[in-house]
Symmetry: C2
Subunit: 234 residues, 2 copies
Amino acid sequence: MTQDAFSKTPITTASDQVFVDMRREIVEGTIEQGSKISEPELAKRYGVSRATLREALNRLESCYLVERKANVGCRVVALTAERLIEVYEVRSALEGLACRLAADNMAADEVQSLKQLLNQHLQTQRVKEGESYYQEAGDLDFHYRIIKGSKNDHLIHLLSNGLYQLIRMYRVQMGMVGPRVSKAFDEHLAIINAIESHDGELAELLMKRHISASQANVQNKFDLLAAQKSAVNK
Amino acid sequence: MTQDAFSKTPITTASDQVFVDMRREIVEGTIEQGSKISEPELAKRYGVSRATLREALNRLESCYLVERKANVGCRVVALTAERLIEVYEVRSALEGLACRLAADNMAADEVQSLKQLLNQHLQTQRVKEGESYYQEAGDLDFHYRIIKGSKNDHLIHLLSNGLYQLIRMYRVQMGMVGPRVSKAFDEHLAIINAIESHDGELAELLMKRHISASQANVQNKFDLLAAQKSAVNK
DNA sequence: TTCTCTAAGATTGTCGACAATTAATGACTA
DNA sequence: TAGTCATTAATTGTCGACAATCTTAGAGAA
């Protein structure tokens, strides 16, 4: 049976499948951000009944990808600079915590495996310098492993099933590429070193800084877009 | 129209009502922690169809009060010492953040109003020394106001709609009373003073400590219960 | 023209019934 | 007696239809 690549839970029911499919389409922008969702239309498109679709919508709502109003309907969440700040403030606090916990709770072999993953990223990075691979799968995988290393199930769920899709959405649709790639690598290295020496306080600090830098990066993109827009409007 | 006392959103649909009712029953223990939920039975009890009930269950799941397994069903979350630690770790990080933000973003009149509330609590406390009022409505109200003062909507939603009911559940069902009442008051006072002087760093630290103390309190209760149990089993 | 109100249309909320899956019962075998 | 398998019962997942609500279009009045 297939399983969800993020929550690692098996996909059994039809609404599971619709949920995963819609999530991908929303994160990748196939279903446009801010757009209204028509239940009858989407139900037809996915070949399921409205009840099944609504089940999926409920779950999308609980990971912040759609917003509902009673008797009005669903909207895909809109990406705004304000919301980006809010989400990253929360992310920083939670992943900072995860990192501190990981410094205590991550098993030695998990740490080794993560270091290996980093080396692998380095290779890949050299080959496709500046491309988005690292920022996508690679970077996320790094963060995922640390989150998992916290061994705090509630935290893991909150981040993996809750916040991460929204963060991914910002990064995918804002098109994160460029010179931050190599800098991010160094930051990852410093973090894993702090974890390896069980220095939770340092690991937390470094992770928070890493995330701040990442935020500034997305923020820049927003500013650029805003500048473009105001130039066009002249 | 009535409205939800916690999320402040209006209760319009039938599933809204069922959600709020069930939430209260679960938090207060009327619906027993860890127990299995029968959809047909509860639907009959609340006088709604299964579809409506399932809508409510979905929402209860997203605030961590029930857990679902595909083709198996729902269970009310079980209160365990391990989970308590996990939840409080997350809570500490998030409310610490809220407190730091509140030091920057809370309006002067909001601060004044909160100080007034504290005074009011002091009066009440004197009257019903040792009773659970303070720990319930009062303490929660204090925390709510600070969370709201963070002005971070995502954080506010995450705490008010997400984590807080679960925390309430632990506190209500573990029966929080006793000598911590007056100590908690002093801690609250110190926190609001830090916020008033816009010292975010201090406010965050104090809040985290305050929450740690609160956790230790619930933890004690767990240990006591465990000791009782093992004594009975002899 | 602009605003208000009304009526039609479309969308969401809710229901009861059926299909698919899981859990419980009991017969059968070792 | 204990364990395994098949059958039955109960529960969850899914569907299509109806009811309640909101939105839109258009007529009429100021």
